[in-house]
């Protein structure tokens, strides 16, 4: 044994030098993609453990994938939630409406009507099916890609657009970035731009519900990239320690801006498998299979409601579009990835299932899509009457100083007066407006 201070860089000549490993995605722009390395297990294969089972019974599922819709568009296996055609059509419609909304608002951003937009293309099944499997009064702690939950819960599209345009009817008074909704009456928690903060908060809400002997549960969504944040682990620890009635979702859409899922640890194990280390239930689900998503959410919600504790669910999916309107995915990933994503498009898969059931047709789908485009168009036109970003029709200046605190302190009153004085000088014509 050495005595005294260590000698720096003592030569151990026969040892290989250490090497830093930096993950690298399989495909870059220009590469031909090949998904044969990606195991896609057959639908219907996995058993559905009892909702009250010990957490450890779910752990094999965290390394596999719950799938219900098979290659022939049938719903198969123990996880088939057995939804009636009416419910399936409602699910399809809500997913298609979410996509229509995204398409139009994306264009609005390109037309300069707002500063920013984020689509959830390819991920519609996750938010819509989860919302449908939850009770209407369960609390959702979303990230910025769960607009489908608001739409599922019937939040007015016009108000979503008002928020995106930051106009004078924006329920959030023009303060938040577009798409960072907040809708307490719809059980939809205020979205933060600071990633992962909602995760421990959801656990806290669930703990509160348990403290109060309520029956409502909480659920939260995080991207796989954001699951690298410490907040993720804080949430898992609290959920496990207090057996919180919460369902925690990792939406693994493969990409976090330009960083592939390997930078959140995906090369070592699945995201669902993190449940194991915390001793809670975990499920890994085909996120492009609306029925599998519904079944998993329902299973975990029932479990939480029966005081059996938290579940971590990984939704394996693909971010088909750019990260946001500020992003250009062609700069870092193969353009073909989207086309060749082996789990398909969630809307197409559900549509084909309904058609296979004899409960839907291509013609009905086309008519529905036309109708939805029109519905979104009407909503955006309606919202535009309240203004678009940067065209003067926003909330009155004074609102800028409200809600910092419950009551306005003297220094903010002074600053509000300053803002009004400046407005009078910079934009005298605004005096005529209702901007008192």
């Amino acid at each position: 044994m050495a005595e005294g201070p260590v000698e720096k860089g003592t030569a151990r000549g026969n040892l290989p030098p250490l090497e830093l490993y930096v993950p690298e995605p399989k495909y870059r722009p220009g590469d031909v993609v090949d998904y044969s390395h990606l195991p896609v297990p057959p639908a219907g294969k996995l058993a559905r453990p009892d909702e009250a089972c010990p957490a450890s019974e779910t752990w094999p599922l965290t390394l596999d994938m719950v799938r219900v819709l098979d290659e022939d568009d049938n719903a198969v296996g123990a996880w088939n939630p057995g939804l009636d055609p009416e419910t399936l059509r409602r699910m399809l419609r809500t997913m298609a409406l979410t996509r229509a909304f995204d398409d139009r608002l994306y264009r609005s951003q390109r037309q300069g009507k707002t500063s920013f937009y984020m689509k959830c293309t390819g991920e519609e099944a996750i938010s819509v099916a989860c919302a449908m499997a939850l009770a209407g009064d369960d609390m959702v702690f979303p990230s910025y890609r769960q607009q489908g939950i608001l739409i599922s819960r019937g939040y007015p599209l016009v108000d979503m657009v008002n928020q995106i345009y930051s106009n004078r009817a924006d329920p959030l008074k023009g303060r938040q970035l577009p798409i960072m909704y907040s809708a307490k009456d719809y059980g939809f928690f205020s979205i933060s731009g600071n990633l992962a903060t909602q995760f421990p908060q959801a656990v806290g809400w669930a703990m509160a519900s348990a403290i109060k002997g309520d029956t409502r549960i909480a659920t939260a969504f995080i991207g796989e990239g954001s699951s690298a944040e410490g907040d993720f682990h804080a949430a898992m620890t609290f959920a496990a320690v207090y057996n919180a009635p919460v369902v925690l979702h990792v939406v693994n859409n493969q990409w976090a801006i330009s960083s592939f899922s390997g930078f959140a640890g995906a090369e070592r194990t699945t995201f669902a498998a993190r449940a194991t280390g915390y001793g809670i239930a975990g499920l890994r689900v085909d996120g492009n299979d609306a029925l599998a998503v519904y079944a998993a959410m329902e299973w975990a919600a029932n479990r939480a409601r029966a005081n059996q504790g938290p579940t971590l669910i990984e939704h394996f999916t693909y971010r088909a579009e750019g990260h946001s309107t500020s992003d250009d995915p062609s700069a870092y990933r193969s353009a073909q990835e989207r086309e060749e994503w082996p789990l398909g498009d969630p809307i197409m898969r559900l549509k084909k299932h309904l058609i296979a059931l004899g409960e839907w047709s291509e013609e009905q789908q086309e008519a529905m899509d036309r109708e939805l485009v029109e519905q979104v168009k009407v909503a955006t036109k309606e919202a535009e009457k309240n203004g678009i970003l940067g065209h003067g029709m926003h909330h009155p200046f004074h609102t800028m100083f409200e809600d910092v605190f419950e009551e306005l302190p003297w220094h903010l009153e002074e600053q509000a007066a300053q803002a009004m004085r400046e407005r009078g000088i910079k934009w005298p014509e605004w005096k005529e407006r209702d901007d008192a």
């Binding site: 830093l20 330009s258 959140a264």
Partner: protein, 334 residues
């Protein structure tokens, strides 16, 4: 050269000179960062020295502390200054005090680069100016360039510095100086003296302010974007003001400030950050303490308001020409 290119140039040059420099951060590798400040560096220096990080600011800063303990000189990027907070404990309790608590055994020669400030419709989570918080922490240096020329020279000095440095990049002026009127078309750095960035190594010492413009009537203290807004306003008003770009908040070039205020007898402090307990409060106090008998008017400060940055009203929030103009008028009244 614009400011992004100047920063890229400084990183490129320093990495070539010193094999101990490593860059990590969200999206900085293959993609070159969301603002492209590290573009091309991974290709040139390899994945051992420029690499993406998990979305984990605590991990980024904590790992940088460990790398520094080994002997490397990490230059991590935090994608937006608003996102340093998850890494705050590693920064404030660890990096900042490493030299002190180990009596110099361990140091943290880390340069944390991060875009900050508003004016790009970034909403309340992509617009903050948190510099004052870091100046409050003993052991951190806080540097803010206002031109591409300075960005390169200061970044080189920051990387060579043996203490942890917060290097805040005013993103509003990445692509050109900005006079503060949101509806005037943005200029580019082309033709601006600060946009002329020499090739090769040069360094601007940390803690030396830059006199942007000499004058007799009034001293204006500003940094980052606000230097340009101050210049535009005072040029419009035709006031013989001395404008000082502080460049470095900690360490602060108090000598230059004192000399100027003693000459002009009047002082205006400008920053974009919220007012209460902002760095302006520190500056006003220092001027008061050291130049009191030379002052001919109360020291004024112009700042952002004490609210988060509101998305739709960001041009009402921004301390633009009108707010600055009013303060200048008050100061020049007698």
């Amino acid at each position: 050269m614009n400011m992004i290119e100047a920063i890229n140039d400084a990183l490129d040059l320093m990495m070539a000179r010193d094999p101990d420099i490593v860059i990590m951060g969200e999206d900085v590798g293959y993609f070159g960062g969301v603002f492209r400040a590290t573009a091309g560096l991974q290709k040139k220096f390899g994945r051992n020295r420029v690499f993406d990080a998990p979305i984990n600011e605590c991990g980024i800063i904590g790992a940088a502390v460990g790398m520094a303990a080994y002997g490397l000189r990490p230059v991590p990027e935090i994608q937006f200054a608003d996102y340093i907070y998850p890494g705050l404990d590693q920064l404030v309790s660890e990096a900042a005090r490493m030299r002190y608590r180990s009596a110099g055994e361990f140091t943290s020669p880390i340069t944390i680069r991060s875009p900050f400030g508003g004016g790009i419709f970034g909403g309340q989570t992509h617009s903050q100016s948190p510099e004052a918080m870091f100046t409050h922490v003993a052991g951190l240096k806080t540097i803010i360039p206002a031109t591409p020329y300075d960005a390169k020279g200061l970044l080189i000095a920051a990387i060579e510095d043996n203490d942890p440095v917060m290097f805040f990049e005013p993103k509003r002026i990445y692509n050109g100086p900005f006079g503060g009127d949101y509806d005037k078309p943005s200029r580019t750095w082309k033709g601006h003296p600060g946009g002329e960035v020499p090739e090769g190594y040069y360094k601007i010492p940390l803690g030396k302010a830059r006199i942007v413009r000499e004058g007799e009537a009034l001293t204006v203290l500003a940094y980052g974007t606000m230097v340009h807004v101050a210049e535009a306003v005072l040029a419009d008003k035709g006031i013989d003001a001395e404008i000082i770009d502080l460049r470095s908040l900690v360490p602060l070039d108090m000598e230059t400030v004192e000399k100027s205020v003693q000459k002009t007898g009047k002082c205006l402090v400008i920053h974009e950050a919220t007012r209460t307990s902002g760095f302006g409060a520190e500056l006003v106090t220092l001027v008061q303490e050291r130049c009191f008998y030379h002052l001919e008017a109360p020291v004024e400060r112009v700042t952002g308001f004490d609210t988060p940055y509101p998305h739709s009203l960001e041009w009402a929030y921004f301390p633009g020409p009108v707010r600055i103009g009013e303060a200048v008028d008050r100061l020049m009244k007698d």
